[in-house]
Symmetry: C2
Subunit: 457 residues, 2 copies
Amino acid sequence: MNAKRQIHVSLLTMPTLAHNDYGLWAHPESQKHRFREVSFWQELGRICEEAKMDALFFADGLGIADSYTGSIEVSLREGMHVPVLDPLLVAAAAMTATTNLGWATTISTTFEPPFGHARRMATMDHITDGRAGWNVVMSFLKNAEENFGVDAGLSRDRYNRSEDFMEVCYKLWESSWDDDAVIADRESQEYIDPSKVRRIDHVGEHYSSSGPALWDPSIQRTPVIFQAGMSTRGREFAGKHAEVSFMINREDDAFRASIADLRAKAAGFGRGRDDLKVLAYCGIIVGKTEEEARQKLAEFEKFTKVDGYLAHENALNGFDPLKHPRDKLVIDALAEDGLREETATYARGPEWTIGDLLDHVKDLAAEKMVAVGDPVHVADLLEQWMDEFDLDGFLLRSFLYPGSATDFRDLVVPELQRRGRYRTEYEGTTLRENIFGAGHTRIAESHPAAAYKAVTV
Amino acid sequence: MNAKRQIHVSLLTMPTLAHNDYGLWAHPESQKHRFREVSFWQELGRICEEAKMDALFFADGLGIADSYTGSIEVSLREGMHVPVLDPLLVAAAAMTATTNLGWATTISTTFEPPFGHARRMATMDHITDGRAGWNVVMSFLKNAEENFGVDAGLSRDRYNRSEDFMEVCYKLWESSWDDDAVIADRESQEYIDPSKVRRIDHVGEHYSSSGPALWDPSIQRTPVIFQAGMSTRGREFAGKHAEVSFMINREDDAFRASIADLRAKAAGFGRGRDDLKVLAYCGIIVGKTEEEARQKLAEFEKFTKVDGYLAHENALNGFDPLKHPRDKLVIDALAEDGLREETATYARGPEWTIGDLLDHVKDLAAEKMVAVGDPVHVADLLEQWMDEFDLDGFLLRSFLYPGSATDFRDLVVPELQRRGRYRTEYEGTTLRENIFGAGHTRIAESHPAAAYKAVTV
């Protein structure tokens, strides 16, 4: 393992009020209530670029979580992922404030056909000059199915549908137009050479699409593919398709094993160690001194709302600790509810009771992979986690907007740069170069999308 | 009729190389080749705003026209609507350069489900502070159906599908959230009042959607609805839904009758004379002097490509004059091909032969509603057309980018303002106020969308 592996960081966000920062919108320094304003996102983008991050990464949701307490009430009161704007449009509106930062958006493959999506991503890559990323997700939230008027069977078949969806996109992005199809000859007034544009004529189990792509190749062609996959099937998908995968923070052997398995799956698809970057979801509460960091933490915890975290957890895994007595062991409660042990991320050991869990939801520092301290301590932890779990970097969480990002820029980045673990200048101009280095603008030859590169008629 | 009716103008464009300006991208002053650059659209938006236009209006297409000459070759060589970027993303990226101009985008109701679209439009309205417009179209191009993998039956049923689609959107935009649902109380840390958010539970013939809307109400709620409807069924749809309708330029009795019929249909839906603005598609080639305008015209005609116009016409109506002998009458050729007389917009009278038509494709000044001359002459014509056809304004065509828009701003607008026919300041800040006047930010009570306003559970 390379001890000096560079640390890659992207900032996680969502164009909504509250997302892993429940209650903190009410903090006097929070600007998160401005999430409908382009200027808010432009400012955040500039901070991320000054911090020389790879990308600003937008989560999304297509329905309102309604299982916790049996209604959408908690989601609404907490502003938990609602209102949520369309992340791609927000990113398109704000991205002109930056020149190197990537803009990665979460878009589901479940409800809309691939052709329109493929054009939207190609447009984003064109207008950003090659800085578009796509976090591939499959939807399963009941209210999302209801919103799109589809039955649950469609969501259950989501991985197979998604494989077909990806194939349509790859064909449109990689095989439909040659790089030199646009000739733009002002003398002959001929714009495109028709011999260099072709149909894809895809007929899959779920999707058919003829092409040709309606757009000429953008700088990256295929946008950088992000994917989170925690389940076995999810890791199979990520191992094949993801160029950047992010894993929910669990500092244990199971977490290490998941990452090793993801890397093994990628290798099984013929992909090299450096063709897939693995980031861990991570929170940083940093001050110039340990004391300053502890003061920030105490303030964050003062505004933190337990309800938001429990409702979010519940939406992810269906677990509701309030249905169980305080003295029951969490593992017993999970077993009783038919849930896997690792789904309850607020239980931190086999001996934890429901009471322990409820008492510690607000205890942000006790969460996995939350670093609290001065810049040296935080950098030590990041380096330690990089090695301990074979990571390539972190997907950074915000407690405070934009305070968490400015603190990272001002306090952590200089320390990591001093240690030679963090870029001092961007290597290129595209998102894929931010992640894989100068010159790596197009998708790697080992990626399945590249299989379509050479198709000609 | 009010002789001093204000003249409303929006600029028609398309995020592609060539669109009603075939060949002119090769003009030395044209900037249209920069259509993939946000800065190009920002500059164009600023010019439109300086010209105090209502909106910049983006056309779209979802397939490559392939019927003319039996292939996509001409479309590609001419850059005729290909490459074409996603108009909504382009508009979102560029709109921050303006503060009053509306940004209206063409989006089809045919291939994607309404929920995602409704969120995208609401997002656009939020991030533009109420300046979003939607041009409702239904797709029928064969290659578009192939791209989305649907059979032709779906397109044939497009009006019924579209009615259902509109209803889902109206319910999501108008009925799902009360205006005061977001309370954002920092003391209680309560963001949304759950009693003011409700499901729509729409179950239609084609679409089902439960809601609630995932977004709080944007400034306009329903974006300004644009629609072009030339057929009888199209006018029925536009008479019901359109707030702004635009008609393809035909300076004849049939054109006058179409507009009168559209207004009658709107009245039949209980809508007032001023609830539907009718714009005519119009070209202006203006110089400080008549001679200067004629010089511009001659230059434009030098670069104009006949092939692009014939292919565009063919895509709209299936007519190919090259299949007929030069001495045949156009009306006979149309009858032979089973086409209506008014479909061939380059034939300008019953006595025209195929040869006349082919000889005049490049004759831009002979097209209907193309004004060539000095500012006084152009303003005279616009005023005359306003009265003659009972219009509310014009959808302006560009021959040269951005020359046609700057000429309109610098030469025509001051003359129209001198005559009291054109705004000197914007009346408000939203697109609907640009069109209907100060205070008219929300949809009129007479519009079918307003029927959903009061729904409560």
